[in-house]
């Protein structure tokens, strides 16, 4: 075990995977000499050389399209998109090509590319360094979508992503890159996809969160505990595949659900989770499902603190579900 920040855990995960498998390589803007703008790839160029740590020209579609070709040929590329907000030039490659290669080729051309990208607000990044648009990718069959909230999960899920046979969108909560640290297992210790993490056991209300909203949900649970409300906090961490059984079981136990994400509400991931709970756990529900999310606006700069869900908003929503049924 080693005490690491979340971004350090990403870095160790990359190095671990590259040491174990010579086919693994890293490519993206500023990932080599500069070690990445968040330093997630720091030191990799020195250890693994230019052939496996590639500084690319400034073109997201070029990065992802090239990574696809590498994967078709049998390499294991891990592409970095500097901010999720800049991924859209590559959206065509991700949605039209990466997600569909296995299917349209009748299984002849699997395409196991990992795309790492920092996402989310809380760093005063304005419209174009803050967005949380995981739902776009969750909507596309063929992609897996994973979002860690702890250093151990960052490394463990990344190791799983790199050995996975399918394309994986690996979204990193940059707001807690350095503010969260924790014990991380040494070596090749993987965290499986499709399993939610029970952050805190509770009996009155289930709070579902992922990424940078997990600490927010935990803080809200502390507030609620002081008021005598026992909140269960579940870190989904793998949106596709989703741990449906864990979500349903938790609501069957507590009878109440609060879903937290910083993405806009309309057609956000919370809508899918709420629909799932309505389909599978309706008769366990004692109160309407609540969502605490970003607003249906572009991401703001000056008023970011109002846009992002905080512990007070989450606690308020949980309290209302307890009060109403």
């Amino acid at each position: 075990m080693t005490e690491l920040t979340l971004v350090q855990a990403v870095n160790r995960g990359l190095a671990e995977a590259m040491r174990r498998d010579p086919n693994v390589l890293v490519l993206g803007e500023d990932v080599g000499v500069n070690g990445g703008v968040f330093r997630a790839t720091d030191g990799l160029l020195k250890e693994f050389g230019e052939e496996r740590v590639l500084d690319t020209p400034l073109s997201e579609t070029g990065i992802v399209g090239t990574a696809i070709g590498m994967a078709l040929y049998g390499l294991k590329p891990v592409a970095e998109i500097q901010f999720l907000d800049f991924i859209y030039p590559a959206f065509d490659q991700i949605v039209s090509e990466l997600a569909k290669f296995r299917y349209r080729s009748g299984g002849q051309y699997p395409c196991p590319v990992v795309i790492r990208t920092p996402y989310g607000g809380g760093i005063k990044g304005g419209l174009y360094h803050s967005q949380s648009t995981e739902a776009y990718f969750c909507h596309t069959a063929g992609l897996k979508v994973v979002i860690p909230s702890t250093p151990a999960d960052a490394k463990g899920l990344l190791l799983t992503a790199i050995q996975d046979e399918d394309p994986v969108m690996f979204l990193e909560p940059k707001r807690i890159y350095r503010s969260v640290s924790g014990e991380v297992p040494d070596g090749d210790v993987r965290v499986p996809f499709g399993r939610a993490r029970l952050v805190r056991d509770g009996t009155d209300v289930s709070i579902f969160a992922y990424g940078a909203m997990v600490p927010v949900a935990s803080e809200a649970a502390d507030t609620l505990a002081a008021e005598g409300i026992s909140a269960e906090v579940i870190d989904l961490r793998s949106l596709v595949p989703l741990d449906e059984a864990a979500a349903v079981a938790s609501v069957e136990k507590t009878g109440r659900a609060v879903i937290v994400h910083e993405a806009a509400r309309f057609c956000g991931f919370g809508a899918e989770l709420a629909a799932l709970l309505a389909e599978k756990a309706l008769y366990s529900l004692k109160a309407p499902i609540a969502r605490v999310t970003g607003y249906d606006t572009p991401f703001p700069y000056a008023l970011e603190h109002l846009y992002l869900p905080n512990a007070a908003r989450v606690a308020h929503a949980a309290r209302e579900t307890v009060r109403s049924g």
């Binding site: 073109s59 399209g65 070709g69 590498m70 040929y73 049998g74 390499l75 349209r104 046979e165 499709g194």
Partner: protein
């Protein structure tokens, strides 16, 4: 234009063929003619079947056969093909059986791509013919990634990226040329300029006088080649391939051809092509040009050409019969191959 043959003659003496294609050059040309005639027969038959509602869609390659057959004959087994819509002959020449390709056109249970993609979008991984989408130009960056893999694995192969004149306006063609130039990768960029992107002539696509000139912006060589002259195409592809394989980086080839059929079975060129287009295109028919040269040189007789046409028609007829006797893909296959393992796309 030769009045007797109706086409612009191939401008070579027999000696010049030897200089350009080596001592077996004329034999290669005769082999090429057979493949081009097969492609032509396939196009004719499939367009007819599409109109009868027996095939869902078809995009003919009529007029562009010299490019595909040259690429098929001029590539090696280690090479990879990243195709566009009109390069299926490359897969066939490289060894993908015609019957299997026709199963794909019928999207039946024996389609190697399991009926997932539209007709003319085959996958033939056994000859490194990669699956394509219908999005224009996206395969060009894939070729760059494949070539990167070849470089780091020290493979003797090169990647061939095929795209059309319209694609030169698209993002991924620019990105791919740029990346390959910076990294000096073994890619041959084959831009078949058939002069039309559906209804758009090249003059409405770009102000550049020649597409080959665009290569200069990426620091790589660019050449404009007569894409209906099999000899010129094979020669140019061979030189570009040799440069790439020797580690001297990519080449951009503009292969000028004439689209002799509609863009696809969903298109009506009467709305936009000038009245004299068909006549100009026919004068540059690559199959007729190659056939006329071989006949004039006494290498292939008129009777030989007739026999080639009959054999091709019969081969296509047999493949169509086999496909029409094959059932559609099993319903359960709808949800397979979305992911590697069995997470069901239809949960219930």
């Amino acid at each position: 234009m030769n009045e007797a043959t109706g086409v612009v003659p191939l401008p070579y003496t027999r000696a010049q063929i030897g200089e350009r294609l080596g001592p077996t050059g004329t034999e290669t040309m005769a082999r090429a003619l057979r493949w081009m005639i097969l492609g032509r027969a396939l196009d004719a038959r499939m367009q007819g079947l599409q109109r009868q509602g027996r095939v869902g869609f078809y995009g003919a390659a009529t007029g562009q056969e010299a490019v595909s057959v040259a690429a098929g004959l001029g590539s090696t087994p280690d090479d990879w093909i990243l195709p566009g819509l009109r390069e299926q002959l490359v897969a066939l020449v490289r060894g993908h059986p015609l019957g299997r390709y026709v199963h794909h056109l019928f999207a039946d249970d024996l389609d190697p791509a399991r009926g997932r993609n539209m007709p003319c979008h085959p996958t033939a991984s056994e000859v490194h013919y990669v699956s394509m989408s219908s999005v224009i130009g996206t395969q060009v960056t894939h070729a760059v990634g494949v070539a990167y893999g070849m470089k780091v694995r020290r493979s003797p192969g090169v990647a061939f990226a095929f795209f059309g004149d319209g694609a030169t306006s698209a993002n991924d063609v620019h990105a791919g040329l740029n990346f390959a130039g910076v990294w000096r990768l073994p890619v041959v960029f084959c831009c078949t300029n058939n002069q039309w992107a559906i209804s758009m002539p090249v003059s409405k696509q770009t102000a550049a006088p020649e597409l080959a000139g665009k290569a200069a912006a990426y620091g790589i060589p660019g050449h404009r080649v007569d894409g209906t002259d099999f000899v010129a195409v094979l020669d140019a592809l061979g030189r570009a391939r040799a440069e790439a394989a020797a580690g001297r980086g990519p080449t951009f080839l503009e292969l000028v051809a004439y689209r002799m059929t509609p863009h696809s079975s969903s298109d009506d060129p009467g709305r936009y092509q000038p009245a004299d287009w068909s006549a100009r295109a026919r004068a540059h028919d690559p199959v007729a040009r190659l056939g006329a040269w071989l006949e004039a040189e006494g290498i292939v007789s008129a009777a030989d050409r007739d026999a080639m046409h009959r054999a091709a028609d019969e081969e296509v007829r047999a493949a169509v019969s086999a496909a029409e006797a094959t059932p559609p893909p099993a319903p359960a296959s709808l949800t397979e191959d979305v992911y590697a393992s069995s997470r069901s796309a239809l949960r219930e």
